[in-house]
């Protein structure tokens, strides 16, 4: 990307007020997550201490007081059943959510880039094998496999790392498909042929002609991956297969909330709100990054139909769905 184009991308990003707001929200969220222990200490709370005195054991453990027991000590109330501090738990939940989602995205992008480049640049046979392999793996429904894998991994394996690996290893197909398709399309461009004629070897061509052009689509796709990964982590926790208690996680809180939603609506609304806000902010920002990097969104979509005409239509539909 030329310096001037880079400037234009920034300008287009800054022009979208929703994007700026999302970025601000995410920045605040990251800071809050990083400072979680500090903030919890400031509030005089921690995420794991039980407060039996704050819940109504006669009614099965509903927090005492209005709105889930909000008070000067417990800014966002306490958890039903245990009386743990909600503010601290939500903060620590953000840590888990962001850590796992970003870690998984990194794994997905690295593997996707490597496999996509190998398939796109390598020999026809390598491409065939890799593509078929990807197809088989992509046929496995991600959530199903993720859940199943957690069943067979030894119990002492650190859960956050396991989640990063599982989500990462099961979610790189989209990236590799995009990288491969882009690489193959670019290999046909005349300036790549010209570079070969100019005496560049395959590695020099890849490094100088292809890789720089892959940055934009990969960044765009990664931006779309993050909110998806947050949802997957929350979903696994919701199903009881995420991080282990007493580690706090939004999905897990929502899972517990299925029992409490009649008695303590705040216990649904708080984690749901956090999760929604985060996912929404990432989605909006991802959208904005895409339009900023590629103002000709329409023509990009047209590439989608073109591949549909010549290639696998189901894949094309899926890619298009991911692209819009």
């Amino acid at each position: 990307m030329t310096p001037r184009q880079r400037g234009a991308v920034w300008r287009r990003l800054r022009q979208q007020s929703a994007a700026v707001a999302s970025a601000a929200i995410l920045l605040a969220l990251v800071l809050l997550a990083l400072a979680a222990p500090l903030l919890a200490a400031l509030a005089g709370q921690d995420p794991t201490t039980y407060h039996d005195d704050l819940i109504d054991s006669a009614r099965g453990g509903v927090p005492l007081g209005p709105y889930g027991g909000i008070s000067g000590d417990h800014w966002l109330g306490v958890e039903p059943g245990t009386g743990r501090d909600m503010f601290a738990r939500l903060l620590y939940g953000a840590r888990i959510s962001l850590l796992i989602a970003l870690g998984a995205t990194a794994v997905q992008v690295v593997i996707g880039l490597a496999v996509g480049l190998a398939a796109g640049l390598g020999h026809r046979l390598a491409d065939q094998v890799l593509s078929r392999f990807t197809e088989v793996l992509a046929a496995l429904p991600m959530l199903v496999i993720a859940i199943s894998l957690t069943a067979i991994v030894p119990a002492d394996f650190p859960r956050p790392l396991l989640l990063v690996l599982v989500i990462g290893l099961l979610g790189w197909f989209g990236t590799s498909r995009i990288v491969r398709a882009r690489t193959l399309a670019m290999k046909k461009l005349d300036h790549v042929a010209a570079a070969r004629l100019g005496g560049s070897g395959p590695l020099r061509v890849a490094r100088r002609e292809l890789l720089p052009a892959l940055a934009a689509p990969v960044i765009t796709y990664a931006a779309v991956l993050v909110p998806g990964n947050i949802v997957v982590e929350a979903s696994l926790s919701f199903l009881g297969i995420g991080v282990k208690p007493p580690t706090a996680s939004w999905g897990q809180m929502l899972s517990t909330a299925t029992v409490w939603f009649r008695a303590d609506p705040m216990y649904v609304l708080l984690p749901a709100g956090c999760l929604l806000l985060t996912v929404l902010a990432f989605t909006v920002l991802g959208d904005a990054v895409r339009t900023a990097l590629d103002p000709r969104e329409r023509s990009r979509l047209r590439v989608g139909t073109h591949s549909a005409r010549t290639g696998r239509s189901a894949d094309a539909a899926r890619e298009k769905e991911a692209a819009v």
Partner: protein, 329 residues
């Protein structure tokens, strides 16, 4: 066309075969000792050995896999102590927990999952395609902005949050609906529908947002194509241009994605089923994972994988039927 369909089917068979290898390798070969896992944490070595023998886990890997394949194709017998249990093809093994053939378990759960998936599909297609088309027609206006915002929120909301909110509003607060409990269609169609209404809505809201975005984008993309200009230049009404020409061009990806999504959902809408307590395939999987019932887990994974692969073929064929250029190029 037929040739194209056959080629795709052939490719799918290869993928399915590779899928069995991958799944088998993943669960029976890779980590730890399946017998120990199957037996649970409080087993003594003797019990583990018993389990190992019963599951033929002491046989060579290839033999195990071949037996597994044989079970799939022709059925197989299991001996537990003195009794011999026959498991008809396609046999995915017996549940560690109950000893029931996995296929039987899947068969019991399928109607629930199918009810959920098909009902939700009708809703999400109506809602999604309608919304997408409307926002494509009203592009540039307030309607489009509102709809775009709504679909954005829709795609960002996980199904369990939508579901929880629906439960809170309609079951706890307004008390219009009872907490859903599955009633088979054959028993009482009316109760069946009433009880599934919330799960359908929760699932459809999420999916329809996706379809709205896809429909809108495809319609706009088609509207930008040259042939639309032709019909405008020949005095065709804008309404006909959009509904007859633009929507027609937007449909193939919608149809293909519907087939794909349906395939994935037949493998169990785990989150929805867990939240609403529907005894579908997804719930079966979650339960089996908790109690480490490996044959059931493998069975569900394979079944789901097969559903996805088949859905992929169906999607491709539908796409080709909807857009004849595919098969011919």
């Amino acid at each position: 066309m037929t040739g194209y369909a056959l080629r795709r089917l052939g490719g799918a068979l290869v993928v399915l075969f590779l899928l069995t290898v991958a799944v088998y390798a993943l669960f029976y070969v890779a980590p730890g000792d399946p017998a120990k896992l199957a037996c649970g944490p409080r087993c003594n070595p003797g019990q583990i050995q018993q389990v190992r023998e019963r599951l033929e886990l002491d046989a060579p890997l290839l033999t195990q896999y071949l037996h597994f394949l044989q079970g799939l194709v022709a059925g197989r017998d299991f001996s537990s102590g003195t009794a011999v249990l026959h498991c008809d093809a396609p046999c995915l093994g017996l549940s560690y927990q109950s000893g029931t053939p996995v296929t039987e378990l899947l068969g019991d759960r399928l109607p629930v999952t199918a009810s959920l998936a098909l009902g939700a599909m009708v809703l999400w297609l109506l809602l999604g395609v309608g919304t997408g088309l409307l926002s494509a027609l009203r592009r540039g206006g307030t309607t489009e902005r509102v709809l775009t915002g709504l679909t954005l929120v829709g795609t960002a909301t996980p199904v369990f949050i939508t579901g929880l909110l629906l439960l809170m509003v309609f079951c706890a607060y307004l008390r219009w609906l009872p907490f859903p409990s599955y009633v088979p269609l054959s028993e009482d169609p009316e109760q069946w529908a009433w009880n599934l209404l919330l799960p359908w809505t929760a699932l459809a809201l999420l999916e329809s947002a996706k379809y709205a975005r896809l429909t809108r984008a495809s319609t706009l993309e088609t509207l930008a194509e040259d042939h639309i200009r032709t019909f405008r230049a020949y005095g065709v009404r804008e309404r006909s241009v959009v509904t007859r020409h633009a929507l027609r061009g937007a449909l193939p990806p919608v149809i293909a994605l519907t087939a794909l999504d349906l395939g994935t959902m037949f493998g169990g809408a785990m989150l929805t089923e867990t939240l609403f307590g529907l005894p579908g395939i997804g719930q079966l999987l979650v339960h089996s994972v908790r109690v480490i019932d490996l044959p059931v887990v493998v069975g569900v994974v394979l079944g789901t994988g097969a559903a996805v692969v088949v859905a992929g073929v169906v999607a491709d064929i539908l796409y080709a039927l909807a857009d004849r250029r595919v098969a011919l190029t």
